[in-house]
């Protein structure tokens, strides 16, 4: 199975293969993460917190969504499932901050994951690292998936979900 990740910095191929990924996408690569699609030829993942904008992106050309607010919006998750879009969880954000913030973010991510599983939506974990310190290896990503409640098979599917669109 080929694993993929998205970062907000460019990562060289040596490091990405050591970390266990086929590719870590960065700025300027084929996958673009933004609140609007800036390059028409890119594979676009919507990132934002406004529910209306997320809903528009799901109905539009976005292949997935990253919810910045970390609020659990059941209707958005069901809508994403209906349109076959990926719900991306910011795994890098789950590991940063004070202890209470880590706990709160992880519990919310777990609830998003469980709703997504109920709605049969596809979920992916991405690090969105801004610096080298924020990256996670594929093994760590699988461990985080299992913390959210995924079994080993589901964890592997989550880490390779982006491959379906490449």
């Amino acid at each position: 199975m080929e694993f993929y990740d998205i970062a907000e910095m460019n990562v060289n191929n040596d490091l990405s293969s050591r970390l266990g990924y086929t590719k870590i996408f960065g700025p300027g690569d084929i996958i673009e993460i933004d609140d609007k699609q800036k390059r028409p030829d890119s594979i676009w993942i919507f990132r934002g917190s406004n529910v209306g904008e997320i809903s528009r992106a799901i109905k539009g050309r976005a292949i997935g969504i990253v919810m910045d607010s970390f609020a659990v919006e059941k209707s958005i998750i069901e809508e994403a499932a209906g349109y076959g879009k990926i719900i991306c969880i910011d795994a890098g954000g789950l590991c940063k901050g004070e202890r209470w913030q880590i706990r709160k973010k992880t519990i919310t991510a777990k609830r998003i994951f469980l709703y997504a599983m109920k709605a049969r939506a596809e979920v992916s974990l991405i690090t969105l690292a801004k610096q080298k310190e924020g990256l996670l290896s594929s093994m760590q990503l699988l461990a985080l998936s299992s913390l959210l409640g995924a079994d080993s098979e589901r964890s592997r599917i989550m880490a390779s979900a982006l491959g379906r669109f490449l």
Binding site: L19, L94, E133, G134, S137, Q140, L142, A143
Partner: protein, 106 residues
């Protein structure tokens, strides 16, 4: 009855060069803080070898690799130096990891 402990070895890379001697105690403290005492005692992690300034090998009890991988996600600084730790590879023998490290970090 002779009980033999089964170990797994984890190759861990750090994003910044680190002092090998200070690392061992600091890693133990951080993992114990994030995993909790029960998991820490089950895993019993020990730094057993360093592979250059940016990588080291951690020995853990078999079955606790995933817990330790999870614990390393939360370590963001060691001795006040901002650092990211990546679990690169696990193996049942230290030799195979040393071989891999000698190729990867030459």
């Amino acid at each position: 009855m002779i009980l033999k402990r089964k170990f797994r070895y984890i190759l861990i890379e750090s994003s910044a060069p680190m002092d090998w001697k200070a690392l061992s105690a600091e890693i133990s403290n951080k993992l114990s803080a994030y995993l909790g005492e029960r998991f820490y005692i089950n895993a019993d992690p020990r730094v057993v070898a360093n592979c250059g300034s940016n990588a080291f090998i951690l020995r853990v009890n078999r079955g606790s690799e995933q817990d330790v991988a999870l614990g390393t996600c939360y370590i963001s600084d060691i001795n006040s130096i901002s650092v990211g730790l990546y679990t690169i590879k696990t193996s049942g023998t230290i030799r195979s990891l040393l071989d891999y490290a000698s190729r990867a970090y030459k």
